[in-house]
Amino acid sequence: MDGFFGAFAVAIHAVWSDSGYFVMNMNNIIMMIVGAVLLYLAIGKGFEPLLLTPIAFGCILANIPNNGFDEGVMNAISMGIHMEIFPPLIFMGVGAMTDFGPLIANPNTLLLGAAAQFGVFVALYGAMAMGFTSSQAAAIGIIGGADGPTAIYLATKLAPEILGAIAVAAYSYMSLVPLIQPPVMRLLTTKKEREIQMGQMRHVSKFEKIVFPIVTTIAISLLLPAISSLIGMLMLGNLFRESCVTDRLSDTAQNALINTVTIFLALGTGLTMSGDAFLKLATIKIIVLGLVAFIVGTAAGVLLGKVMCYLSGGKINPLIGSAGVSAVPMAARVSQIEGQKAKPGNYLLMHAMGPNVAGVIGTAVAAGTMLAMFGG
């Protein structure tokens, strides 16, 4: 009987000493708290819950010691991240959900989408000044583009070691757009500018909507081949949507497929957030730089909006410029809300959708130029 209890005690001790409670370090605990806070923001506050929920959960799981995630489904998901499979598939769904009509109706809004990328490059500058390598700096800068899949795609290619921090910063700030942007927008515009009402948009034909994704794919992919899978998938999804003869494919691309890939991408991103990799001074720098990028991008969009307002003789409301950071469709909604605050009945949403979707293309192009400079 003594031998029995002895063996029993040995066994219990063995389980305990193999368990995470015994091995866990302070970093793991901190990261679990980080995960819990992100879950609170996602679920309690509604900040990008579709992405922050699985990211945060992945963050918690990544900090379970001996979790054995070097094999099994978690390993397969991590391989999908590492092999850059998920972001283009997400972009296919995004394309299938996006109406480029407002952009086609007013191609000048592409310039607003370009201006908003200024934040990307300011953050890149800042990151290099802070001592990050040029590849890391490029990946950090892209946070300012407010496009999660593009950020993850670029970070995977250029600086996988800081993927977790970049993804969290990107999605956090994207969800904070309604808090970050309005002060900047009000600071840089006069009330009179904000009151400007924009005319009715022209009708865009089906022909234009179908030709646009095809020609855009060719034109941009040829110039920046490094992002041809991103732009190609975005535009293929959009072609599924606009062609009206591939509704089955469009439907799957924007539902079952994007949802599945979103779960994997976000969970896999969270899995990169092990305490030892995440809890570094660099992470705080990245988060600060990301905020700077967002603010500068917003400001640049608004400022170019003011220029276009002046050049157009006051027909363009500068508030739509801030939508150029993308974060579709939240940034466009912010423009709408600010416009209505200045003048009830001022309806800017459709006009802001132009720069908003232009920002998606703009950030992809920015990623392409940086890959051309630092990649491979």
Binding site: P107, S205, F207
Partner: protein, 106 residues
């Protein structure tokens, strides 16, 4: 270029390319619009001039177009139908009904 490490230069070069590419794309969109207008105009003219001649000639040769318009109007009819039925069902007492699809068996 791959050797450049001056942050300011990198910033300006990248920003310039982004602006150039998106400006180029805006030109592309204008060209598409231009082509669209030409095609649309010529089609409208052609339709007015030759509609009665072309259509009967093509019809027997290609059953595909026959099939397509056959499907399209039906689709729209169906939608009307769904709305009518939904209302009917609701009148029947069910409050939150959604008809997923009404399929015609071939």
């Amino acid at each position: 270029m791959h050797g450049t490490q001056d942050p300011l230069l990198i910033m300006i070069i990248n920003m310039a390319i982004v602006f150039a590419v998106l400006f180029g794309l805006s030109l592309v969109i204008r060209v598409i619009k231009y082509i669209n207008d030409i095609v649309y105009e010529s089609k409208k003219t052609a339709a007015e001039g030759t509609a009665t001649v072309v259509k009967p000639a093509q019809a027997p040769a290609s059953p595909v177009p026959v099939a397509v318009p056959a499907a399209a109007p039906l689709d729209m009819e169906n939608k009307t139908l769904v709305a009518v039925i939904t209302t009917a069902i609701m009148a029947y007492g069910y409050k939150d009904v959604k008809i997923r699809s009404i399929t015609k068996k071939a």
